[in-house]
Amino acid sequence: MDFDFSPDQYALRDEARRFLAEQCPTSHVRGFTDDTGAWSKDLWKRMADLGWMALPFPEQHGGLGQSPLDLVLLVEELGRAIAPVPFLSSVAFAGQAILRHGSDEQRARLLPSIAAGDRVACLAIADDADTFDEARVTCRAEPAGEGWRLSGEKRYVLDAPAADLFIVAARAGDEVRWFAVDEPAAVHPKRAYDRTRTMGSVVLDGTPAEALAVPGLQPALRVATGLLCAEMVGTAGRILEITVEYAGQRQQFGRPIGSFQAIKHKCAEMATELEAARAAAYYACWASASDAPDAEVAASIAKSYISDAFGHLGGEGVQIHGGIAFTWEHDMHLYLRRLKTAQVLLGDASYHRERIAQLAGL
């Protein structure tokens, strides 16, 4: 039994941390927080040069032949740096969906440009305002010659303004499955609550599409959910780090506030949440990568626990910082916005608890 990453995987993490500390400090992130739809194309280019987008794809498709598990620590680092790039969407969400649902021909055609970072793909799931649930997908797919035509509006699409390839959940008769769309009728960038990411609506109006070969939204959704959780662990870990650091420096009543038990115990609770979350995220990623029998429930376990725990952790991070975290200048709100958004993406805690209840036979 070995439930940890390999020395090679940790070496990649260390490299990523060094690179992002240099290339993506929060001063860089702040260059993209004001304009709707803005993201760091420079950083993206440099990441592509390092081969990060190629990592989890087969060699014959322009990849480096690693598994989605090799992505885990990398997305964690990107979460730690709140990097303003569509890596999670393109490589972890849409790229993995193509890898797991595409035919050989589709993979060979669609993956190389994603792996090179030349193309940005995103995953479009929700149609209406209240759910990411597969059963509530309303976007329609009608057969048209050898392909399909999609109609509907996909909303809250992460990184839609950055994307030029859209992997869309749509309903063909009774069946919901993934479709690849090159040119939607329109993409409307929206002001994202998370200022470090872009978000938008994708309008489809009899838009040409091709169906990915393997029907259903799983396993793509659970792979994506696990990796989103891993990214959240990175962001939450950074919040704990800067909070403990601040508590050690900030003096009140003639001593560091970090020497008060009221503060220390909050931090200990945050550390406990973080480690439990880490175990849950890693397990969910392992289970989906190895197609373990409990892969689906493991993803919901991780997402439900982490969504709640990090809501608490992020809030305590602000509280311990006090007034300084209430300012725009302080970075805390950037991390908090990232976490609060990720809490809801791909299903919030209540949604995933209902899935757990169903999968546990309740």
């Binding site: 070995d2 704990l240 508590a247 550390a271």
Partner: protein
Amino acid sequence: MDLAFTADEERFRAEIRAWIAGHLPAGWGEPGFREPDSFEERLEFARAWESTLADAGWAGISWPVEYGGRGATLSEQIIFHEEMARARAPRIFINFVGINLAGPTIMAHGSEEQKRRYLPKILDMSEIWCQGFSEPNAGSDLAGLQTRAVLEGDRFIVNGQKIWTSFAHVADWCLLLCRTDPDAPKHKGLSYLLVDMRTPGIEPRPIKQVTAEAEFDEVFFTDVEVPASNLLGELNRGWLYAGTTLSNERGPAFLAHQIRFQNVLADILDLAKRTTRDGVPASQHPAFRERLAKAYAEVEIMRYIGYRIVTAIKRNGQPGVEGSVAKLYWSEMVRHFQETALAVTGLAGLLDFDDAPDQGKWQRGYLMSFAQTIAAGSSEIQKNIISERVLGMPRGEVWAPKERV
């Protein structure tokens, strides 16, 4: 990352599984089987079951071969505990202190003569041990304990009081932590004595606990004479040795604990399906359904944490950060799910014992869950440890009473 066991380990699993199936106490686990009610009957039941384990050589599974143990690998220990938990076999009860606390402490710090004298009798259960740690005024502040041992010639004279001592009135020996130098700083004046519980001047008194049962004793020591040769290791180094005792208490049985909790959770889910609320099964009632799913997630996450701890021990010889947060995590988790279970019983939970669902199991379980967040380092102590040792936060100032005008 690879969570599989090897073929050899799986063979070992099949062996232990078959053994357990063939040796469980008669009637155990069958419908209508009831564990004995009185503490005395439970002790006899435990003595019989644990002797069966000892005779088959399972008792000392974690002990090295040189001390008569099985010398099992970490994976084999995990498998053994997993299978015991999965079969819902009776837990190690009466010999727990001997096998997991006293034995390893004597192995680590005792003289050769002490090891030869005490260890075999722990393994074959001819001697039962208790642990004399907590005192009325030394709970979380264990190092502040006041039971005194004064060396007079070739013997110590012990005076004081211990509390929360399991099995004191049936134990043959006590692993006693006591103060041997009252002038030294509090951590540096403690020693370990091995005390024969039949020595005159020792008086155990059972404590009736919140569940109306009596599992613990308080123990009074009045001019108790202990031979100087029963000092464990060196004088005044007891606090260091206590670290060995306590680290064993949080040892590799973690994953087995998790399976026991999985079993409890399965029973809670079952309870929720056969208990109605607002006319529907509680398992279908939105409020309870969500709490049950939350409990399910928390118990599963404990398993993942266990995998992390085991992997860290295999790689580095000791648990990592997860090891430090594990106790806080699971003890709070137990509080949550026992509270959920009690809530599920609803109106029927207004009654107790045989008048309540499942003979009052959930009423008792709720009250017992407080033991988890209080014993073996309270949640508050765990948070101090995590903030200071894991996060490196500063220690607080020592509180001193202000003079009142």
